[in-house]
Amino acid sequence: MTKKKTSAPKKRSGPSSHRHTHAQGHCADLLRQLSAYIDDELPSDICREIRRHLGACANCEVFIASLQHTVTLCRHRPAPQLTSVDRMNMRRAILDAANAR
């Protein structure tokens, strides 16, 4: 497993009040690649292009931060654990079922 940092994506310099139609063009293209970006699976030139876009588009920057937070929460969500009694009871049930088949 590749452990990822838990903070939001790095801050970049540049204007953040850029306005455009987010459902089209760069923003929509970026959304398709965000998981690969978060998982460090994209070539460096595409990462650079994405960083440049994020530096100019506050909406996409917020969006990627929330997606990164989602992944972080999933990675850290603890799962309930079995008690030793549960382990023993289930083992017995499995053996009984195996013998019955």
Partner: protein, 183 residues
């Protein structure tokens, strides 16, 4: 094999099923199938990968029996925000460690519910990759998919959970300070 892997498979089963009794049923079904198939196991994969595969198949069978309805596909287009407001929905964990954030009961429940709402094939990809911590290649082996398909499902699953979480409008709580909120 049971002693070494039961905790792993229970954790996976609980994450897939979302509740205790179904998770226990899935664990029993998994080990029963594993014992019956043990003679055919050639050791080409790790035992844990083999058990994850058996558990995944058993889960699909059990769910199909219970629900019987076809699963819907998630399209990427449905996750492209159409308004400034949708773009800017946030998940309130800035400044908190993930462990602290998850002590917020509302956030924890929203996360569990969002994962539970995912169609099964997307949930399985998310659970294996982001919660169990397996590589895309391992997830592909378990789910019988190539890596590209795994990544595609994972991306849609993450976008779905992100939308569900942010749309809930969860605010910062001080639950982690009062404690006692772990399930």
């Amino acid at each position: 094999m049971y002693r070494d892997h039961v905790d792993l498979i229970y954790r996976y089963a609980h994450r897939l099923c979302g509740e205790t009794e179904s998770a226990k049923d899935l664990v029993q079904e998994t080990f029963l199938n594993a014992y019956q198939g043990l003679k055919d196991f050639r050791g080409e994969a790790q035992v844990s990968t083999w058990l994850y595969t058996i558990a995944s198949r058993a889960c699909i069978r059990m769910r199909r029996k219970r629900k019987g309805e076809p699963e819907h596909e998630l399209s990427l287009e449905e996750f492209v925000p159409t308004s400034e407001g949708e773009f800017r929905l946030q998940i309130p964990i800035d400044g908190l460690s993930p462990e602290e954030a998850l002590q917020n009961k509302e956030l924890r429940q929203a996360l569990d519910q969002a994962i539970d709402k995912l169609p099964q094939k997307y949930r399985m990809a998310l659970v294996l990759r982001d919660m169990e911590g397996l590589s895309a290649k391992e997830v592909g082996t378990i789910m019988g998919l190539n890596e590209r398909a795994v990544k595609s499902r994972l991306h849609r699953a993450r976008l779905f959970v992100r939308r569900e979480l942010s749309a809930r409008g969860i605010t910062h709580h001080d639950d982690h300070k009062s404690g006692g909120l772990r399930s």
